[in-house]
Symmetry: D2
Subunit: 123 residues, 4 copies
């Protein structure tokens, strides 16, 4: 099987399979109910938030341009993705198709000419 080290897997379905195989080989699928996976995802999102929490907002990206910081951010982003892929897998959701559908819906909901330069405000 793909050992996850060849760098050749770039599609969502392939990455999903890598995570599934990793889980199956360890008999960890038994722990992967949706609620547990969302909690695991939250744990990783928390680590991601900690990387940026005290940085000036307008300097955060630049501070993470250094190779070691970028590497660190990549690891946290990857942890979030891994649990997101696993959750989509146990829910039998085609995540790539769902993302495209969401983006297409957003194009309709937020016409470029109507919202250009204005952030949608939550109230």
């Amino acid at each position: 099987m793909d050992d996850g080290t060849d760098g050749g897997v770039t599609d969502v379905a392939g990455l999903t399979r890598l995570v599934r195989e990793f889980s199956r080989e360890r008999d960890w699928e038994q722990f992967h109910d949706p609620k547990s996976l969302v909690l695991a995802l939250v744990g990783e999102v928390g680590e991601l938030a900690e990387l940026f929490q005290w940085l000036p907002a307008d300097e955060a990206a630049a501070r993470f341009a250094a190779p070691d910081r970028r590497q660190r951010a990549g690891e946290e982003l990857a942890d979030v993705l891994v649990y997101l892929l696993r959750l989509a897998d146990v829910l039998d959701v085609d995540l790539a198709a769902a993302a495209q559908a969401k983006i297409a819906a957003a194009r309709t909901r937020f016409p470029a000419d109507a919202v250009r330069g204005t952030a949608p405000e939550k109230r």
Copy 2:
């Protein structure tokens, strides 16, 4: 450009481009500093958590097997992915490569024969 509706984009880089184009067309890149994107990601993770919060853990997956619920879950999972892809993009992180590297590192850290059937406990 790819209008995001053809269902043909399945790789992480392609989805990342769709989100980048969506943002650029609306001049929303100005709002996409890392801290703001993590907060947006947290907002979507919160909506995902709400879907499952009161369900019996062992029934959650089955309850979401119905087409309408699966569709709903897919939309929330997609929202999380969209912001995760956008954050990786502004941080210039190759998310697919980072995910593969993380999985490869986890294979070493958690040898299947040593951890089979046992969840790593956080203390």
Copy 3:
């Protein structure tokens, strides 16, 4: 019993009792296992994050100084507190005492003269 409208309950234990009574009167304690409560907490934290996500960091507080926005923020902060109190209650944790102990420990861990003006960086 205290109907929660007299405005007189200001201590953590009293607020915890109000939430417990609210839950008990609805026979909702059965849903309040720790994992479900953390997910509910995450849902509320997500709503809190959405309030601020696209605001310039240095204008966020001022933007919420208007009575209606402050009211809105107060409601989201309250939702987070309610689930936090409920979770501490089901875990039999004295949250006020735990918070004081944490602050006391932080005073030792971060001597004012050593860290003044410098944010502890997560790496």
Copy 4:
């Protein structure tokens, strides 16, 4: 001032003052804009989630009844409370009053006789 170790501070306003003094003594108020504080809160919620993520939902509370685990849970709950109090403080929100108002509103929104034993479902 109250050094936070006497165990005597049990009200929300008093705990809020302890956190404010701790921040002021370290000149850390400059870092405490709402977005940064929400990210810090998210980081702590993530640590809380990690405590429970892989536990069977119906055993989580019992597993944390042991003194050391309860102590650990208390520390994570306290971290969340500390940032929540700090955020309410910078937003000039009376958190105890806001919580009581929220509970009172919930009593009206969810009449006990109408919802008894049924969890409100998010769709």
